[in-house]
C-alpha cells in the first residue's frame, strides 16, 4: 500500500469514528514541471510536488465535503471532524450516498496511463522541446516576427481512493503537453495563433518542429483578416473549434443539467437529436487516453457509454447522485471539484470520425466560412442558443479566399447538431474532448 493509500485509509477510519455512516476520500499527488521559453530564452521554469486531499462524508442522507493541501495528521484529523459536523447541518437528501458500484475489484484494466520513458528525459531536454518548437515557428516565415512563447509541461500523477465500502485503490499516470504561440505581422496588424500536442506517451507527441511549423502556418494564414457582410451560409469547424461544440454537448447531456432541467436535451433519450452521421461516445477505457482512468473519482468502475448513435440520443452521463435522482446507473463520470465535492466530468468524450478528408469538405462549399478560432461565452445550454466571436477563412467555390475576423456566428445547438452535413476523418485528440472537422449546413454570420 502506498503512503497515499495509508493516509486515505486513516481518514476513512477517522470519519467513521466521528459518526459518518459513509465516506470516500481521494488523494492526488502531482509531480509537475513546466517551462516557457520566449524569443529563444527561458522565461519561466516551474517545478513542484503538490498534494491535495478531497473528502466526502455522509451522515445518513446528509453530506458535506472538504479539501486540504495540508496533509499534516493533526490538520487532517481536525478537518475530518469538521466535515462530519458540517454534514449534520445539511438537509436530508434521498439520493445522497456512495454508489453500491464503488467496490474495489481486482483486475482493473491496465489502460497504459503511464509512460516510464518520460523519466529519462532531463530538464535540459524538456526545455529544449519548447526551444525547438518556438525556433521552428520563428524560422517558418519572415512575417513571424514575435512570439508569445512556447511551453512544455509534464506531470506525473498518483491518485489514491478509499471509501467505507472497503475500496482502496490507486493508479498512476503521466501526461505532457507542448504548446507554441507565434505572432505574425503585416502592415495590417498582428495575428497570433497556436498549435499544440498533448499525450500520456512520449511516442504519441507530435515533434516540436511540427508543432512550431503548424502554429506558424496557422498565424500566417490569419494575416490581413477582415470583416465580411452579415450572411447565412454553411460553416466548417476545424477539429479545434469542433471540439468546443462537443464541450457544449457534454454540458447538455450531463446528469446534473438533466435533473436541474437546465439543458436543451432533457427528456430526449431515444429521440433523434443530431444528423444521422453523428455518433458520440464517452470512452474511459481508451488505452493511453488523456481522459482514461480505471475508476472514477467516487470509485465507480469506468466504461464506454454511447451518447449519440447515428443521430439518436442514447444516454446521459451520471455520477452516483444524478443516477439515483434520475433512476439510472452511474456511468463512471464522477469528478472531484477543488472543494472535494463530486461533479460530472468527461472521460474521452468524442465524435467518431466520418469519411471525408478535410479538403473534400472545403471543396463542397460554394460560399461559407471555415472557422479556426472561437472566443467568448455566448452559449446557453438551457435553450441551446449559440452566439460566439469567430476567426476563420472565407471559402468560395471550394477554395480559401481570405481570412476573416471580428464576426460572430450564431444559431441554436439543437439545430446545429441536426444540420451537420459532413463529418471529417481527422479526429484529433488535444485533450479529453475531441472532434473531427464538421460542416454545418447554415448559421448566421454577423459582420458588416
Amino acid at each position: 500500500m502506498s503512503d497515499l493509500q495509508t493516509t486515505a485509509r486513516d481518514v476513512i477510519e477517522r470519519a467513521k469514528k466521528d459518526g459518518a455512516t459513509a465516506a470516500d476520500v481521494l488523494i492526488r499527488e502531482d509531480d509537475s514541471f513546466s517551462v516557457t521559453v520566449r524569443m529563444g530564452e527561458v522565461e519561466t521554469l516551474k517545478q513542484a510536488i503538490s498534494r491535495s486531499l478531497m473528502l466526502r462524508v455522509f451522515v445518513g442522507k446528509r453530506t458535506a465535503a472538504s479539501h486540504t493541501s495540508d496533509l499534516t495528521p493533526s490538520v487532517l484529523q481536525g478537518l475530518v471532524d469538521e466535515t462530519v459536523e458540517m454534514a449534520r447541518l445539511t438537509s436530508e437528501d434521498d439520493s445522497a450516498g456512495l454508489s453500491e458500484h464503488a467496490v474495489y475489484r481486482n483486475g482493473f484494466p491496465d489502460l497504459q496511463l503511464i509512460d516510464p520513458s518520460w523519466e529519462a528525459v532531463t530538464p535540459a531536454e524538456r526545455i529544449d522541446f519548447a526551444m525547438r518548437s518556438e525556433a521552428a515557428a520563428l524560422s517558418a516565415d519572415k512575417s513571424i516576427t514575435n512570439s508569445e512563447g512556447a511551453s512544455f509541461d509534464y506531470a506525473r500523477t498518483q491518485v489514491a481512493l478509499a471509501n467505507t465500502l472497503g475500496f482502496n485503490g490507486s493508479y498512476q499516470a503521466s501526461s505532457a503537453g507542448l504548446y507554441c504561440v507565434p505572432i505574425a505581422q503585416s502592415s495590417e496588424g498582428m495575428q497570433r495563433d497556436h498549435w499544440m500536442s498533448a499525450a500520456r506517451h512520449r511516442n504519441r507527441m507530435e515533434s516540436p518542429e511540427d508543432i512550431g511549423r503548424k502554429a506558424a502556418q496557422r498565424a500566417l494564414r490569419r494575416l490581413g483578416a477582415r470583416k465580411i457582410p452579415t450572411a447565412e451560409v454553411p460553416i466548417v469547424f476545424d477539429p479545434l473549434t469542433a471540439r468546443s461544440l462537443l464541450g457544449h454537448l457534454f454540458e447538455a447531456i450531463s446528469g446534473s443539467a438533466i435533473y436541474r432541467r437546465s439543458s436543451f436535451l432533457i427528456d430526449q433519450i431515444g429521440q433523434k437529436v443530431a444528423a444521422e452521421n453523428i455518433t458520440v461516445v464517452d470512452d474511459a477505457l481508451m488505452p493511453a487516453g488523456l481522459g482514461s482512468s480505471p475508476f472514477d473519482d467516487e470509485g465507480v468502475p469506468t466504461r464506454v457509454t454511447p451518447i449519440i448513435e447515428d443521430g439518436v440520443l442514447r444516454n446521459y452521463l451520471h455520477t452516483a447522485y444524478t443516477a439515483r435522482k434520475l433512476g439510472s446507473q452511474p456511468t463512471g463520470n464522477g469528478s472531484r471539484t477543488a472543494a472535494g465535492a463530486v461533479t460530472i466530468g468527461p472521460t474521452n468524450f468524442y465524435l467518431k470520425p466520418g469519411k471525408y478528408m478535410p479538403d473534400e469538405i472545403i471543396r463542397s462549399i460554394k460560399r461559407g466560412l471555415y472557422v479556426v478560432e472561437l472566443i467568448g461565452f455566448g452559449v446557453n445550454t438551457v435553450t441551446g442558443d449559440y452566439s460566439r466571436g469567430a476567426v476563420g477563412i472565407w471559402v468560395e467555390n471550394g477554395e480559401f479566399v481570405h481570412p476573416v475576423q471580428e464576426v460572430t456566428i450564431a444559431g441554436n445547438l439543437r439545430e446545429m447538431f441536426d444540420n451537420i452535413e459532413m463529418v471529417g476523418s481527422d479526429l484529433t485528440f488535444l485533450g479529453s474532448i475531441a472532434a473531427p472537422t464538421l460542416k454545418i449546413g447554415k448559421m448566421v454570420i454577423s459582420g458588416e
Partner: protein
Amino acid sequence: MELNKSIFFQRYNLTIADIETYLSEALSRGGDYTDLYFEYRINHSIVLEEQIIKSATKSLSLGVGVRVISGEKTGYAYSDDLNRENVIKAARTAAFIANASSQGGKIGVPAPLDQERNLYPIHVFPAELEIAQKIALLQEADRAARVFDSRIKQVQASYADETKHVLIVTSEGNAVWDLQPLVRLNVMCIAEEGGRRQSGYQGGGGRQGLDIFAGDLDPKAIARESARQAILQLGAVDAPAGPMEVVLGPGWPGILLHEAIGHGLEADFNRKKTSAFAGLVGQKVASELCTVVDDGTIPFRRGSLNMDDEGNPTHQTVLIEKGILRGYLQDRLSSKLMKLPLTGNGRRQSYDHIPIPRMTNTFMMAGDSAPEDIIKSVKKGLYAVQFGGGQVDITSGKFVFSASEAYLIDDGHITAPVKGATLIGDGPTVLRRVTAVGSDLKLDHGIGICGKDGQTIPVGVGLPTIKIREITVGGTEK
C-alpha cells in the same frame, strides 16, 4: 502590522531566521531578486437546490511560493507545507533558473512596512460565523425567487466565503502581510412555461462581512433580480445580426472596458509587444468623453486589495484620460524591464502560481449626459444591461462580450427584450466610437472572475450608461 502577528509566525512557528535562510537559498545561484509568498486560505461554500441544503464544503490551502528572477527569467517552485526542508528544497529549485556563479551570503529581513491602510475593516469575518446564519441567507433567497413568479421552477442558490492570510517577503527589503476576506452569494433560476425554459442569474459580494447582504445585495433582492431575468427571457425575441448603435447600461456592462482595453494594457503584453496597444501611450485611443481607471483602493470591493500579491500597495491608475492612453498595469518584472513605475497590479491565483499584471476594479468615470436622454437619442439600436462573460485576443485587439439581457430601441423607446447575443468589436477602435457618457457611474455587484494564463482572480468593473456609435451584434435576425 508586525510580522510576528501574522498567522505564519503565530500558528506555524515561522521565524525570521527561517525566512533569512529561504531568501539566501533562493539567491544561492546568483539571482537578481527573490520573494517568498506564504499563503493560508480557508474557503467555505454552501449550496441550496430543490429547496434543501444539498452540500457544504470547506477547503484549506497552505503553502509557500518561492520566486527567483534573473534578468528576464523567472524560476518558481512551491511547497504545500511550511516544513523547513521542503521550503529550502523549493528555494533551491527556483534558484536553478539563475546560472551566474554562486554569490551566497546572508540576506537580512527588513523591518516591515507600515501599512496603516485597511480597505476591508470588518469586525466579524464570515468564516467565523455559524453555518446556520449562512443557510438562512440561502433560504431567504430561495423563497423570494419562488414567490416572485410561479413559473420559476428551479432555484439554485450558493454561498461562498474566503479568508486569505498572505505574507510576502522580498530580497529588496519589503516584508508585509495581509488578511483578505471575500464573500459572495449567487442565485440561478430556471423559468418554465409551455415547454420553453430560460435561466436567470444574479449575484453579489465583496470583501466585507455578512452585512454586505443588504439593499441591492439583500438575498431577496438578488433572488428577485435573478427570477426577473429568467421570466423576461421567456418572452425574448431573436437578437438582431449586424452592426448597430448600442447603449450599455451602468455597472456590470463595464466588462466592455475589461475586455476592450484592460487586458491589452497589462504591461507584460506591452513589454513583449504582443498587444494591439503596444507603443500607443500618449496617443488618442478613445473619444475625449472617456476616462478609464483601474482602482484597487476602493473599500470593500471585490477587486480591491491593501497590497498586490508582490507586496506592493494598490493604486488608482489612470489608463485613459479624456481619450489619451496614459499607462499600463504593472507587475514588478515588467515595471523593472520597462523602467516604469509600479502600479500594484502584480496578482496571482495562489501560492502555486507566478504573479503577473492583472486588473483590480476597472471603470469609466461618469460623464454629463442624462441616461434617459442617451436612450432617447437612439433611432434604432440595442440597449444591453446584463452580460455573461467576455474574452479578448490581445494581439489582434478583437474582443467579445455576451449580453444576457438586452432590448431593442426603436425611435428612442425601449421595446422588446432579445435573446442573448455576443457583441464583437476591436479594442483600439470601440472607445473612439463612444458618443455619449452618462452621469450614472455604477460599480458591479461584486461577482467578477477574470482568467489569464490559467489563473483566475476576483475583479470588479464599472460603467456609466454609454452610447457606442457602432458595434457588431451577433444575433440571428438579419
